[in-house]
Structure formats: C-alpha cells, structure tokens
C-alpha cells in the first residue's frame, strides 16, 4: 500500500446523493502524485459528479475526501478556495470567459490571486500560451477560435497558478481526431515535464489508452475495475470487456433493455 504522502487525492467511502437518487455509492480511490489517471464510464455512471467532488465544486453526502493529507469535506469556503488554487480544471467546453481575450483569460487567476505586477503577469501569460501552442492568438476572443484552440486556451488558464493536479472533463468531446491527438499529446507532455497529477474523464478509448498510466471504470456509481491499460484490455470482466471494446452485446446493454422492459410493464414509461 502507498504511503499517504504518495497520494495526492484519497477518496474514502464516498457516497453522493441528490434527493433520493444515489449517484456515487461507497467509492474509494487513491490518486497517486504525478500519475495520469483516466476515469472511464458510460453516460450517467457518475464520472462528472466524482470530478465535481474532487474539484471541490460539491461536497459528498458521506465519506471523506482527503487532498494532500487534509480532509476537505469539513472545510469552510475560504479554506476550500486555498485548495482550489492548487488545482486546475479543463472543462468540456473550455469554459473561457467570452468577454475576455485568451491572454486576459489566462491572466485572470494571476490578477485575482497574486500581487504580481502587470509585466510579470504578461510574461507568465506568454509562457502558458506558448506551452499550449497559442502564443500568437493571445489577443483573440474565444468566439474567434476553434473548439480545439478553446480547450488549449482553457488548459493554459488552468495552468496559470501552476497547479499540483489538473482535472480534464472529457477533453476530446466535440473535437476532430487530429485535435484529439494534439490535446492528448499536450496532456502527456505537461504531465511529463511538470509532474502535474493528471485526472482525465473520458469515454474515448483510443485517447484513454494513449494517455493513461492507470484506468478505472465507473459503473452505476461504483468502481468496477482498476488497472493499467494492458490489464484493462486483457480483462475478462464482461463489463470491462464490453466497455473497452465498445461491444453492443454485454451486461451494460442487457441491463438497459431489462430496465426499459420493466418500466414498460409497470406503466412507468411515458
């Protein structure tokens, strides 16, 4: 077992409910410092909720979420803000502020949280934009650039405060295959050059295998598999096998069909 200091995030028996719906059920997971962890799962499996928990966007109903040795569940908003400054999130759409240029977007966290003067901020912004290959586009507005560039700009902003961990929410969603490869390469390069812990949510298998040191599969709010890319490919767990190979036949589709049939029988389906 890893020593606690080797784990940047420790999820301990976390349950998350929204009303009477349980989205995550008694989850436990360690994210090791510096690793590239890919979280897989079908739609509605609870991946985004788990990401929201780790990004301190929401709190668990039960269980503990330990970041850098500190349980963040009982923290005040002010304490949580200190944690938030140590992590970056790349949202599915890039989530750039449309009223600001790319350079202003990247500068925003620095202007808000540091006492740095304008020229130092400009230098850091230039470095971050260069890191994601957008140096010459700093003066453009988000509406003037492509989807792939938006994600790269979002990544530059997430990197602004030199985070210890970056969460990527479906980074390949809506991108062409070349842009997907570019983003994947960027994630791996950043991880290798800066050592930043990388947590990726995706259901793009090619991408997942290209990025991951380790993969976990989430299904119905529980982890059902955890292993290296090779272990996942070779897994004889029918659920993992179906998901990894994108098969039509398997426990996921069986369950969906049965559920629909039961609802139709009970008249609950509109």
């Amino acid at each position: 077992m890893d020593k606690p200091q080797d784990n940047i995030i420790e999820i301990r028996n976390v349950t998350k409910r929204f009303g009477s719906t349980t989205v995550l059920s008694d989850l436990s997971l360690d994210v090791r410092r510096g690793e590239r962890l890919v979280m897989l799962g079908g739609s509605g499996a609870g991946k985004s909720t788990l990401l929201n928990l780790m990004a301190a966007e929401t709190r668990p109903t039960e269980g503990e979420l330990v970041i850098n040795g500190k349980n963040i569940c009982g923290m005040s908003e002010r304490e949580l803000d200190r944690y938030r400054k140590t992590m970056g999130v790349l949202f599915q759409s890039g989530a750039l502020f449309n009223s600001l240029t790319l350079a202003e977007n990247v500068a925003l966290p620095l202007q808000e949280h540091t006492e740095l003067n304008t020229s130092t901020i400009e230098t850091i912004v230039t470095m971050k934009l260069n890191l994601v290959g957008l140096l010459e586009h700093g003066g453009k507005y988000p509406s003037e650039i492509s989807g792939g560039m938006k994600k790269r700009a979002g990544l530059a902003r997430a990197l602004a405060l030199d985070p210890q961990v970056i969460f990527y929410d479906e980074p390949s969603a809506g991108l062409d295959p070349v842009s997907v490869t570019e983003i994947d390469r960027l994630m791996v390069d950043l991880n290798e050059t800066t050592g930043v812990t990388t947590v990726v949510i995706t259901h793009e298998m090619t991408s997942a295998f290209r990025i991951a040191h380790r993969l976990v599969l989430l299904d119905q709010g529980r982890f059902v598999a955890d292993g290296t890319p090779q272990e996942m490919k070779d897994s004889d767990n029918p659920l993992v096998h179906q998901f990894v190979h994108g098969l039509l036949d398997g426990p996921m589709t069986d369950r969906r069909d049965r559920g629909a049939y039961t609802r139709a029988l009970l008249g609950a389906d509109d």
Binding site: E57, K85, F91, Q92, L96, N98, Q111, E112
Partner: protein
C-alpha cells in the same frame, strides 16, 4: 375535501416559493455589499473589479441615457398636454410647473429611469450571466477560487445603483423640460417663469427622497438580474426564461417598493 385542499396547498407552495425567493435575493444583496469593500481596499482582485465596474457603468447606464431622455421628455409633454387645459380653466395653468417638478423628482424620474434600465440592462445582465452558467463559466470561476458574487454581481449591482441615481436626475430634468416646452406652447408661459416656479416648489427633501428611491431601485434591478442569471439551468430556454422573468419581476418589484416608499414617506410626513 380534496378540491379545497388543492388550491390551499398551491397557495401555500407559492407563498413559500415567494418568501424563499425574496430571502435568497436578500442574501445575495447582503453578500454583494459585504464583498464590495474589496473593490477599494485591495490591490488583488481590486484591479479587475475597477475595470469591471467602469465597463458595467458604461454598459448599464450610458447606453440607456438616450432612451431614458426620450421617454421622460415625452411623459413631461404628455402630462402638460393633459393637465394644463384643466388647470387653466381655474386660472392655475402655471401650477403645472409645481406638479411636474414634484412628480418627477419624487416619483416619475426614479421610477421611469429604473423601468427603462430594467428593459435595457436588467435583461441583458440576466442573459449574460445565464449564458455564463450554461457555458460552465461560473464553474470555471469557482474552480479558480474566484467568487462569482465578487467578480460578477458586485460590479453589476453597484453600476446599476449609481446609474439609476444619475438617470433619476437626468429623467427629472428631461420631464421638466418636456413639461416646460408643452406649457409654453399651450398657455405661452415663459421658460424662466416656469423654472422659477419649479425650483420654488421643489424642496431639497423631494430631491433626496427621489435619489434614495433611485439607488434602492438600482440595487433591486442589478441584484434581481444577477440572481435570476446565476440560477439559470437547462440551456438556451433557461436563459430566455431568466431574461423574461427579470423584466417582469423587476417591474412588479419596483412598483411595489415604490408604493412602500411613498406610503412610508407619507406617514412620516416627508
């Protein structure tokens, strides 16, 4: 029994929803004023806050000036055209200066300015913040430990407060100008005589109460638009819904608060 219970239960539900809405709005206004001092006392965050505030002052107020001037000038002319012939029958046609002066400084200036601002700025603020919510920009702000209240709500509410106050003065002046012009055309009252009568009858208290009202209206418009914008869920239809609700609720709220102010000032003999 069921037929009696249902409307009572619905009435109860809407009463609870209204009270919760007013409570949440009150909390937002409280948080806004608690976060406002950072605008002037800190360098961090303050830099952007000032920039945001100037931009919002321009967007909220400056762009509304033309419409407010036109509307209040027209109301001044209409009031004069309707009332002067009646007053003139009693030989008191010149008293229109007193009526329009007091009516505009105490009531119409602040109220009409605020209503125009609701259509102009309130709707646009709600749509802007609502779109940000849909585009994950609010989540992105929180993930960077930047409070949406401080970053988005404070500059908009303060700008709205300042600009409704300025617009109240401008609309009162335009209303008086409209009345003056129409009165000159109807009964040939000289401009200087009209102005003398206006400023002899309007007291400092009339102007102060009007300005207090205008400032409160401004806070109300800004906070309502931000509150409804921040609460947007469900994509484009959610944004449209928030925009419509902002205009409708703001106009109702402005009228009710104006009634409350007038009643209180009347009882206090102000």
């Amino acid at each position: 029994m069921q037929s009696i219970r249902q409307p009572i239960s619905r009435l109860g539900e809407s009463a609870i929803a209204t009270v919760s809405f007013i409570g949440a709005l009150g909390v937002l206004i409280g948080l806004t004023f608690a976060a406002s001092p950072r605008l002037v006392v800190t360098r961090r965050g303050g830099r952007l806050a000032w920039k945001n505030l100037w931009f919002q002052l321009y967007r909220v107020g400056v762009r509304s000036i033309g419409v407010v001037m036109l509307v209040t000038f027209a109301i001044g002319v209409i009031l004069s055209l309707q009332i002067v012939p009646i007053l003139d029958q009693y030989g008191a046609g010149d008293q229109i200066a007193t009526i329009i002066g007091i009516a505009f400084f105490r009531e119409l200036g602040p109220l009409v300015g605020a209503i125009v601002l609701t259509g102009f700025a309130g709707a646009s603020i709600a749509a802007e913040i609502g779109t940000m919510a849909v585009n994950e920009e609010l989540k992105a702000l929180r993930s960077h430990a930047i409070s949406p209240v401080r970053f988005l709500v404070v500059p908009r509410v303060l700008a709205s407060m300042v600009m409704t106050t300025c617009l109240a003065v401008l609309s009162s002046a335009m209303g008086i100008a409209g009345g003056m012009l129409a009165t000159r055309m109807i009964i040939g009252m000289p401009y200087d005589a009209y102005l003398d009568l206006t400023f002899n009858s309007v007291e400092a208290l009339d102007i102060v109460t009007g300005l207090i009202k205008a400032a409160v209206f401004g806070v109300l418009i800004g906070a309502l638009a931000c509150h409804l914008g921040l609460a947007v869920r469900g994509g484009a239809s959610g944004v449209g819904n928030a925009t419509t609700r902002t205009v409708v609720i703001s106009i109702v709220a402005l009228t009710v608060v104006d009634l409350g102010f007038t009643a209180v000032f009347y009882m206090l003999g102000l």
